[in-house]
């Protein structure tokens, strides 16, 4: 708890009880922020003229499975392009209800980043316009970057997808049917 930095004490003043903890790690300012009203907190950081953290650099998450409670932490890196200041914001998220408010209304760049966190960690972002898997395919089971997902786990085979509007060659269809018959509908 070092409030020596005037900027940090100003943030604490502005956000009030939303700030759970403030510390410095290797010279970086780190804030632990409560997830309730998260978007409002970020709005303050973004629009306040003295702070001006107008640039969202990165969103990611960490899974502290069996190490920490609450289990997840969503980590935001924001910075002020004008003042050259960085700030890291960590938001604890419990396993029982892995949801966080989406930041897409503030930064549209959050769209892809939040989709990636949902894809790999299974943390839902409320009010996200298009929360689909991004790096993995839709039929993927589980969330691979969770620590309880074994590294060598195999995924079930995915049946051929019917895509609306695509041209399907009848001959290839027949081939698939024959294959299905010979395998006893295993695929």
């Amino acid at each position: 708890m070092s409030d020596a930095n005037p900027r940090i004490s100003y943030i604490r003043e502005k956000l009030g009880s939303k700030v759970l903890e403030i510390h410095q790690a290797q010279g970086d300012d780190v804030l632990l922020v409560d997830r309730s009203g998260l978007r409002a907190s970020f709005l303050v950081l973004k629009t306040d003229t003295q702070l001006g953290y107008d640039f969202l650099s990165d969103i990611t998450a960490v899974d502290y499975w069996q190490k920490k409670e609450p289990r997840f932490e969503v980590v935001y890196q924001i910075l002020s392009v004008m003042n050259h200041q960085r700030l890291r914001i960590r938001v604890p998220v419990p396993e029982s209800d892995p949801t966080v408010e989406s930041l897409t209304p503030l930064w549209r760049g959050a769209n892809f980043l939040e989709r990636e966190v949902w894809d790999l960690f299974g943390i839902r972002f409320i009010d996200h316009p298009d929360l689909r898997r991004i790096l993995l395919y839709d039929e993927f089971q589980g969330f691979p970057l969770r620590k309880d997902y074994p590294v060598n786990l195999w995924q079930p085979r995915v049946p051929e997808r019917e895509v609306a509007g695509t041209f399907v060659d009848e001959r290839s269809h027949n081939k698939l049917l024959r294959l299905k018959k010979s395998l006893g509908s295993k695929i």
């Binding site: 290797q26 890196q77 760049g109």
Partner: protein, 396 residues
């Protein structure tokens, strides 16, 4: 004639471009909604090259991650190496000797030149300027030879280590660089003559893929794409790392934020990078390239083969990995395509608990629909080319 036009179908057409389209070098798919040739909407599908970089890193020791970072942005592997090593060193709390820092600057800048030449050369040849493409590939080859002489590999270099470098520069490095730069400058002047007043090239690039300053900031864009809109944000200047604060270089800025500005920014950055390399080679101090700390540095081979302590020391570092104190850190370097950040979490063991890479071109792909909306299908080629999406980094 008029009556016929009214009978034309008005519905939009869906077109899937990619994943293996000649223009989408790297595997990526665009689901386009078209009105004739005009792009109404574009949904970008990434992830075809996803190989679980983060998960693989959690299985490896801190040192074993370095080869994985080579495969992120394989057009500038040395910048990835440097960024990762700097992040781990920040977490440990050590600083490498000056000579090591200078060499890291040199190799980073050589990589940046390589990255920009790849991007510009490929884009030009896609637009029909095959000659320029070949000239740039020739220039790139010269850089690649220097890297090969230095690191022993052309692409998967793995040159930087945590706390130092694999080895010092080769003895005639400065001469090699001077010679290569002379040829590269000549080649780039030729390219400039071929392109900068070329009607076809300017028509394809200028006023295409325009993105405004506010939109670029809102979409978290960095690197040449952001600087082409006129925002002066370069990690080397904003958050100086290594010895960049002692170097004299300019940050080229654009104004319109179109493809031509991006191209010009990249071409000017090549010149600035060459200036940095020349300055660094001039100032290069004498001294060790490794930190003096046996906790992180492998012992000399002579000790390993001739003494039990040396052998144990070697064995422990290789098998257990170096011990990085528990904590978390974020460090960003200026990669070829923008801010390349590493977010590390350590639990105090020899293996990373979590490694996250902030991939600049993944984030740029998130804004692609904004850049291409309202333009033609053919404009996708230069716009996508100037983003310089590298599958290894985008999909990890």
């Amino acid at each position: 004639m008029k009556a016929e036009n009214q009978d034309l179908p008005l519905e939009t057409m869906d077109l899937q471009m990619g994943p293996s389209h000649p223009a989408t070098h790297g595997t990526i798919k665009f689901n386009l909604k078209l009105d004739g040739e005009k792009v109404l909407d574009c949904d970008v599908e990434v992830g075809y090259l996803h190989r679980g970089f983060d998960k693989s890193c959690e299985q490896a020791t801190w040192t074993q991650v370095i080869p994985y970072t080579d495969r992120l942005n394989y057009a500038s592997p040395l910048i990835n190496n440097v960024g990762y090593a700097l992040a781990v060193e920040k977490l440990i709390g050590v600083e490498t000797p000056p000579r090591c820092q200078y060499i890291r600057v040199i190799v980073s800048e050589l990589s940046r030149i390589f990255d920009h030449l790849t991007c510009c050369g490929m884009s030009c040849s896609e637009l029909g300027a095959i000659t320029v493409g070949f000239y740039m590939i020739e220039a790139r080859e010269l850089i690649m030879r220097i890297m090969e002489n230095l690191t022993g590999a052309r692409l998967t270099v793995t040159y930087v280590r945590i706390g130092g470098l694999k080895h010092d520069l080769v003895h005639d490095f400065a001469e090699q660089v001077a010679q290569a730069f002379k040829t590269i400058r000549k080649l780039l002047t030729d390219c400039d003559h071929l392109l900068s007043r070329n009607r076809i090239f300017i028509d394809r690039m200028s006023n295409v893929g325009v993105i405004s300053q506010e939109t670029a900031l809102n979409y978290s864009l960095t690197g040449p794409i952001l600087r082409a809109t006129g925002v002066n944000y370069d990690v080397r200047k904003a958050f100086p790392y290594l010895v960049y604060d002692q170097m004299d270089f300019a940050v080229p800025l654009g104004g319109k934020g179109d493809n031509y500005d991006r191209f010009v920014c990249r071409m000017q950055e090549i010149e600035q990078s060459m200036r940095i390399v020349e300055q660094a080679l001039e100032k290069l101090p004498v001294g060790p390239v490794w930190i003096d700390d046996p906790r992180f540095v492998l012992p000399e081979k002579e000790k390993v083969y001739n003494s039990i302590e040396g052998l144990m020391h070697h064995f422990k570092i290789i098998m257990e990995g170096i011990h990085v104190p528990a904590g978390e850190t974020y460090l960003a370097v200026e990669g070829g395509n923008g801010e390349l950040g590493f977010y590390l979490v350590s639990d105090g063991g020899g293996r990373p608990y979590r490694i996250r890479v902030r991939p600049p071109c993944f984030i740029a792909m998130g804004a692609f629909h904004e850049m291409i909306k309202g333009y033609m299908v053919a404009d996708i080629v230069p716009t996508f080319g100037m983003i310089n999406m590298i599958g290894g980094e985008c999909d990890r």
